[in-house]
């Protein structure tokens, strides 16, 4: 039965128009690589010196953000689609418990979109390492790719839960986007400073709690870079831990809600 839901999630996604957007995003980033590559060659010829034109640019974090954005958007429509009044009876009459149905659906979509993100980042990574062989180390890139996938994964329970209660993919997506924005703002250094200026204990506490409850996507994706700048060998896992815990919490809420839902 999981197989059925997995295949449904897979074919439902690869046959959807969303795939064009994935294609366009990949083309834009790969195109940018080629442009930078040409510019670098010209620069090198002009100055007769070897300049690493890519510099700090790898394009991976920005491409990952774009892919995560698309994937969260893609997932947002899945649950509301299945619980539409015209279709819910078909799924719910099948010999699968509510918990099983929701969990399998979430898992299947997580796998499909994670695969897509990895695949596209992998394709881009292949171009990147061809054009700029010295720029990156393979092991590091792979670690970074997995962190990016995790950033996506911790948003899936949230968007599924929102899809359940709003029954609308667009609403679920908008709210998730707002949550991401708030989390992003809370993670800013400047925000810390601002809050300490405010001298409002309650506000500071609320901001602190929210910071730890919301998905800490920017902390996760910058884990490796942070470790490098701090010069420490060991990674700081706290962002992963709190985000995973809150994702599990939201998933449990979704299950509890779904078990009692009239459809």
């Amino acid at each position: 039965m999981f197989r059925g839901l997995l295949l449904l999630a897979f074919f439902g996604t690869v046959k959807s128009r969303l795939m064009y957007l994935y294609g366009i995003v990949l083309l834009v980033w790969v195109g940018a690589l080629f442009v930078i590559n040409n510019a670098t060659i010209e620069l090198n010829m002009a100055s007769n010196a070897s300049i690493n034109g890519v510099g700090a640019f790898s394009g991976i974090p920005s491409l990952a953000s774009a892919l995560i954005f698309l994937s969260v958007f893609g997932v947002s429509r899945k649950i509301p689609e299945m619980i539409k009044p015209t279709l819910a009876g078909f799924y719910l009459s099948k010999p699968l418990s509510r918990t099983g149905f929701l969990s399998y659906t979430i898992l299947a979509n997580t796998l499909v979109f994670s695969f897509l993100i990895l695949l596209l980042l992998g394709i881009y990574g292949a171009f990147l390492s061809q054009l700029f062989p010295f720029h990156i180390s393979g092991a590091e890139i792979i670690k970074q790719l997995f962190l990016e996938v995790i950033v996506f994964v911790i948003y899936v329970p949230l968007i599924s839960f929102l899809g359940l209660i709003t029954r609308s993919g667009s609403f679920a997506f908008l709210i998730t986007f707002a949550v991401w924005l708030v989390a992003k703002i809370l993670a800013l250094e400047e925000m810390r400073g601002f809050l300490s200026l405010l001298d409002n204990n309650l506000m500071t506490q609320i901001a602190d709690v929210a910071y730890y409850i919301l998905p800490r996507s920017s902390d996760i994706s910058s884990m490796l870079a942070t470790a490098k700048t701090v010069g420490s060998d060991s990674l700081n896992w706290s962002a992963l831990l709190t985000s995973t815990l809150s994702a599990v919490g939201v998933y449990s809420l979704a299950v509890l809600k779904f078990r009692k839902m009239d459809l």
Partner: protein
């Protein structure tokens, strides 16, 4: 053998929006569907038929009372393993093909692909959709969608088939074919529960029906018992004028012609006396049928009685249970 379906004092109140009063869609519905029968759940739009079926399948949760599917609570997935369901107003994913839908249904029912392929072909053929199996559902007419819907519901060879308004929007040919499929299933020993507001359409294929109105069961019984008009017979043959006035203790004549008499007999045994008497008058009798009326008439009468508080109709057989009208159930 466990009974396929039983509800006991099932009630459901939908809660309206914030501060809404709520709709009591089902009021203490108790019924049983026996193994091997085609059971019709009839009533006008809004009677609660869909609500009843959704409670049975755990798609909604009842407010009180209980349901059993093959002796198990509907929330148990095993209970639903033996049930095939086609919901009303379904709209399957438009970009999926008919075959894709049947395959998905099979997979979600826990079947293996080779088995799905084999049964799928057979069922698509049976519902007359094999040629269209690879066309996207978005291109289907309502009738075609209904047929693949039937195939989808039957893929895992369920013992109980639940169809909600199966003939809605289907042309007469399609309706006849759907009726045939249901009869074939009965011949295989399967059980079916059919929801319909079109009473005339289903009265011919159902063994038993429950008539539902405003969430309450008005009556449950055999179709023939419900539609029979207790003591009324029509007799055809050839009759002399002298046959027009039978003794009052035997029967009264409702209509008379030399070819046909419609008579109301005085009691259940009086039909024999009437035929004896007619023969004594030199009549020759060719056929004798108990008069019947359509389920629709029965239904309208029941609703009227429920409204005015007069007792229910008098059935001709003991098996039929008619609930006293006006009683809060």
């Amino acid at each position: 053998m466990t009974i396929p379906l039983r509800t006991t004092s099932l009630s459901k109140t939908y809660h309206g929006g914030i501060g809404g009063k709520g709709v009591q869609a089902l009021k203490n519905v108790s019924l049983e569907v026996h193994s091997g029968e085609i059971f019709g759940l009839l009533g006008p739009n809004g009677a609660g038929k869909t609500t009843l079926v959704k409670s049975i399948l755990n798609i909604i949760q009842q407010t009180s009372g209980s349901c059993e599917l093959f002796g198990l609570p509907p929330s148990n997935p095993k209970a639903r393993q033996k049930v095939g369901y086609l919901q009303e107003n379904h709209r399957f994913r438009r970009n999926m093909t008919g075959r894709g839908l049947v395959t998905l249904s099979g997979r979600l029912s826990g079947m293996k692909d080779p088995e799905i392929r084999e049964r799928g072909e057979m069922l698509l053929e049976k519902v007359g959709m094999l040629e269209w199996a690879d066309v996207k559902i978005g291109k289907y007419s309502k009738g075609m969608a209904q047929r693949v819907g039937m195939a989808q519901a039957l893929i895992h060879n369920p013992d109980l088939l639940i169809l909600d308004e199966p003939t809605d929007g289907v042309d007469p040919v399609g309706r006849a074919e759907i009726a045939k499929i249901i009869r074939d299933l009965k011949a295989e020993g399967k059980t079916a529960l059919i929801n319909s507001h079109a009473l005339a359409e289903v009265e011919n294929i159902c063994d038993r029906v429950a008539i539902l109105n405003q969430g309450s069961v008005l009556t449950i019984g055999n179709v023939s018992d419900l539609t029979a008009i207790g003591l009324e017979y029509s007799i055809s043959g050839s009759f002399a004028e002298t046959c027009a006035q039978p003794p009052a203790e035997i029967a009264t004549i409702i209509s008379f012609s030399s070819k046909e008499i419609v008579a109301r007999v005085a009691n259940d045994d009086a039909i024999d006396s009437l035929t004896d008497w007619l023969r004594g008058q030199g009549a020759s009798i060719r056929s004798l049928t108990q008069s019947s009326r359509s389920l629709e008439t029965v239904f309208l009468e029941l609703v009227e009685n429920a409204r005015t508080g007069v007792g229910g109709i008098r059935p001709s057989a003991d098996k039929t249970q008619v609930l006293p009208a006006g009683e809060e159930r």
